[in-house]
């Protein structure tokens, strides 16, 4: 088990290095640099800026210097937000995104799991069709439309929640719903499918034959193995949900990490773009590792330590 985790952690490191190197090449081959502004800079000033931000060396040397800095957990200065290092920006924005993401995840699970169970237990009935119809709609509806609808209804029509910002629980409600509902829809569909598969198994029939009630069979026996598809979906999904959403953060003016993914590229803020990609990659890789470990807990037939590393 320990060996498995260690080997996997090495793979995580390798993945991060590959992704960062690829991103370095991509971001540096973009036309337009961090110092291109509506007011063009004099060549003298451009050279001073390049020197100040260590962008005047040959690209290969810059890459090596960047890697050696990253190895010391220094992600460099932001080229746009001059008061902060990338590490500071990530440290400031990741918790904001993670808090919002956790709430959204709670919404997703609290809505998605019961909805999936309900649909599975009433398979073929109008309840099933209604739940799955809603789930399909939830998946199809882009979250900016959902966010807009929520603002229209709960900010302007019924003035129940503030329009933007972060810091209070009330400000978290709408963005959590906007971010969580599409995931709830996916979870509902996956859980329903998982349950239906499991409910057809022989051992479930045995449980029923023992005289257990429908609910006891569903939650007590079928739910755990039926969670497998949900869990494998949640691994990467949690990484995405925790590291922030461009759209939801923008609509609700939340200072999370999501907007950095897109804005840093548009701003040619090389260090910030690489920094957020690196954090995201590490998150995805680590959560996938957690998912693999969770498999063993959910289904005793899967032996983690024997799995290929």
């Amino acid at each position: 088990m320990t060996r498995f985790v260690l080997v996997r952690l090495l793979w995580v490191l390798l993945t991060v290095w590959l992704v960062v190197s690829g991103s370095f090449v991509l971001v540096r081959s973009l036309p337009g640099g961090p110092f291109d502004d509506a007011r063009a800079l004099d060549p003298v000033i451009r050279a001073n800026l390049a020197a100040a931000y260590d962008l005047d060396a040959p690209l290969g040397a810059q890459y090596l210097r960047y890697l050696s800095r990253v190895a010391r957990f220094d992600l460099g200065p932001s080229l746009k937000y001059r008061d902060f290092s990338v590490t500071e920006i990530v440290a400031e924005s990741l918790p904001v995104s993670a808090l919002l993401g956790s709430c959204a995840l709670a919404v997703a699970l609290l809505v998605g799991l019961p909805a999936g169970a309900l649909a599975a237990s009433r398979r073929g009935s109008w309840v099933d069709s209604a739940v799955m119809g809603a789930a399909t709609l939830g998946l199809a509806l882009p979250n900016f439309v959902l966010a807009g609808l929520l603002v229209l209804l709960f900010v302007f029509h019924w003035a129940l929640f503030p329009v933007s910002g972060s810091g209070s629980l009330r400000q978290l409600v709408l963005p959590s719903i906007a971010l969580g509902l599409p995931f709830a829809a996916a979870i509902a569909r996956l859980f329903r499918a998982g349950l239906l598969e499991v409910l057809g198994e022989d051992w479930i029939r045995t449980a029923r034959a023992k005289g257990l009630s429908g609910a006891a069979v569903l939650w007590g026996h079928a739910a755990r193995p039926a969670l497998l598809p949900v869990v494998s979906f949640l691994g990467p999904a949690v990484a995405g949900i925790l590291s922030g959403s461009l759209v939801v953060e923008r609509v609700f003016a939340i200072a999370g990490m999501g907007s950095h993914f897109v804005e840093s590229a548009f701003n040619a803020d090389y260090n910030l773009a690489l920094g957020v990609v690196m954090v995201y990659t590490a998150l995805v890789a680590l959560l996938n590792l957690l998912v693999d470990l969770a498999y063993g807990l959910l289904d005793p037939r899967i032996e983690v330590a024997a799995g290929t590393a």
């Binding site: 337009g32 063009a40 902060f84 995840l105 810091g167 200072a255």
Partner: protein, 528 residues
């Protein structure tokens, strides 16, 4: 056993979420609404004036710091700030500023001429890498110092005593007071900068000299400012507290304004002009800014002035401003907008499709025949797209040309135009300071803002001549002659004058429309 572990895992996850929530909420102290709150568009680049270059930055920095001059809230013109008065020598080369003796930094130190001597030198220092360093290159020895080829001791910058600052210039610069309004030239506190290094802009360290001081900074959320009692004009500052919100989304900004979370928002979405412009709280007026089409004069057929003239003459500027922009933009009659000090702009020839066709035929393309297909480049955005589509349609319908629209992300567009990798492009310029040179300097030979490859010895000579001219009227006349050269050769075809548009709550007083769109926070108040 295993199920217990699942439960344990679930419980641990829930606890982690709860703890995270508590930490995140606890670390963000909740403050009551400030006297005045506004949307400052985006998170500012820095609280260090020297390294900034943008408008949202200037809004905050001019509240935290005050330069030698400050902006008149009605006109945007320079009026006495930390300098009570100033005088200029007969040759226009020596400027002497007399500082007030009664203003203090937030740490209690008096503001002196040495603070400005230090701050200006710091802006010019190559190690500071200030994007606006060149706005002080009129000082003797300044350009060499910025380039690292000259020493600080050769700078035309002296503080003979605490209340006198002397600037010695390389060449006469009558627009110097207007230039000194630029946010990057605001003073910083030497002791603070040198003690804390990179950390000096942290709220717990920062020392400022303006009408407000920094209370709290939540990155990409808000800045809280409070009145600074040591400021010389504190008695005139009505607002005790201000919140400046950073919100990227323009619709979000509008929502914040409409729900009363903020009292002021800049530039509501153009797609909502129909409903926004009719509102009584929409404050609107012409801006010292021009939108134009740019031609790459290094590429055929745009190297032929007749072609450029034909393309300019074919544009129905009236229709483009009225039907496409729809915000009250004024069709251009010149490149430099009217209303900049005493400047009277040169005149752009009125639209004339027949004359345009005749010129095009003269250039060898009768009815557009033989004119190569070309690209019209614009930065990606809805409003520039609509505008360029309309322009392309006019060129197609009136001249028989085949323009193809190409869009690029903002920085890529800037790079393409800088490298002259385009045929024709959308272009815009907004004045940095209240003087015609803020526009005309863009088209000097070889400067970065030129972006057209155009160069005219006569144009350059007229600008040099104007800068040596002490008499304001004669100077304005020379500048207008230079503009006439530009409007004759037309490396750019001006289309319309941009507008300032602000939504300002009825309870705010002292908010005036002006061409620089400057609204000093020190002069705002809230009606009881």
């Amino acid at each position: 056993m295993r199920r217990d572990r699942v439960r344990l895992l679930g419980a641990a996850a829930l606890a982690a979420v709860a703890a995270l929530g508590a930490v995140a909420l606890g670390s963000r102290s909740l403050t009551a609404r400030a006297d005045f709150a506004f949307c400052n568009q985006q998170e500012i680049q820095s609280l260090d004036p020297a390294v900034t270059s943008g408008v949202p930055e200037a809004r905050i920095l001019t509240a935290l710091y005050e330069g030698l001059v400050r902006a008149d809230p009605r006109t945007g013109a320079p009026i006495p700030g930390m300098a009570e008065s100033w005088s200029v020598s007969a040759d226009g080369l020596t400027w002497t500023f007399a500082l007030r003796g009664d203003s203090r930094w937030t740490n209690g130190d008096p503001v002196t001429a040495r603070d400005f001597e230090y701050s200006f030198r710091r802006v010019l220092d190559p190690r500071t890498a200030a994007p606006y360093a060149d706005s002080l290159w009129c000082l003797r020895g300044a350009q060499a110092f910025s380039a690292g080829t000259g020493g600080a001791e050769a700078l035309g910058l002296r503080a003979p005593d605490d209340r006198t600052l002397v600037l010695e210039l390389e060449r006469p610069t009558p627009q110097l007071p207007a230039l000194l309004l630029l946010a990057p030239l605001l003073p910083v506190h030497r002791g603070c900068v040198e003690t804390w290094g990179r950390e000096w802009i942290r709220p717990e360290h920062i020392v400022t000299n303006g009408p407000f001081r920094l209370v709290e900074r939540r990155v990409r959320d808000r800045l809280r400012l409070a009145r600074h009692e040591g400021y010389w004009g504190a008695a005139d500052v009505a607002l005790a507290t201000i919140d400046a919100y950073a919100a990227d989304g323009i619709t979000t900004q509008l929502n914040m304004y409409l729900t009363g979370q903020v009292d002021w928002m800049v530039k509501p979405p153009t797609s909502l002009y129909a409903s926004v412009l009719a509102r009584p709280d929409a404050i609107r007026g012409p801006q010292a800014g021009a939108t134009f089409l740019r031609f790459n004069t290094t590429r055929a057929p745009f190297d032929d002035p007749r072609v450029r003239r034909a393309l300019a003459l074919a544009l129905d500027r009236e229709a483009l401003a009225r039907d496409i922009m729809r915000g009250g933009e004024l069709p251009a009659t010149s490149f430099v907008p009217a209303g900049l000090g005493g400047y009277v702009p040169a005149t752009l020839a009125p639209a004339d499709a027949d004359a345009a066709r005749a010129l095009l035929a003269q250039a060898g393309y009768p009815g557009g025949a033989g004119f190569p297909e070309f690209e019209l480049l614009y930065p990606h955005n809805e409003s520039t797209r609509d505008f360029c589509e309309a322009v392309a349609a006019q060129w197609r319908d009136r001249l028989g040309l085949r323009p193809r629209l190409v869009n690029q992300a903002w920085k890529v567009y800037l790079d393409s135009t800088r490298q002259l990798a385009y045929d024709a492009s959308w272009g815009a310029w907004t004045a940095d300071y209240l003087d015609a040179t803020s526009f005309l300097d863009c088209f000097k030979s070889g400067v970065g803002n030129n972006r057209t490859g155009w160069s005219s010895a006569r144009y350059d000579a007229l600008l040099v001549q104007a800068s040596g001219q002490q008499d304001p009227l004669a100077r304005a006349a020379l500048l207008a002659q230079a503009e006439a050269v530009l409007l004759d050769e037309l490396p750019i075809a001006p289309v319309y004058q941009r507008i300032c548009l602000n939504l300002v709550s009825g309870r705010v007083q002292g908010f005036h429309d002006n061409v620089l769109d400057l609204h000093p926070l020190r002069d705002l108040s809230i009606s009881p």
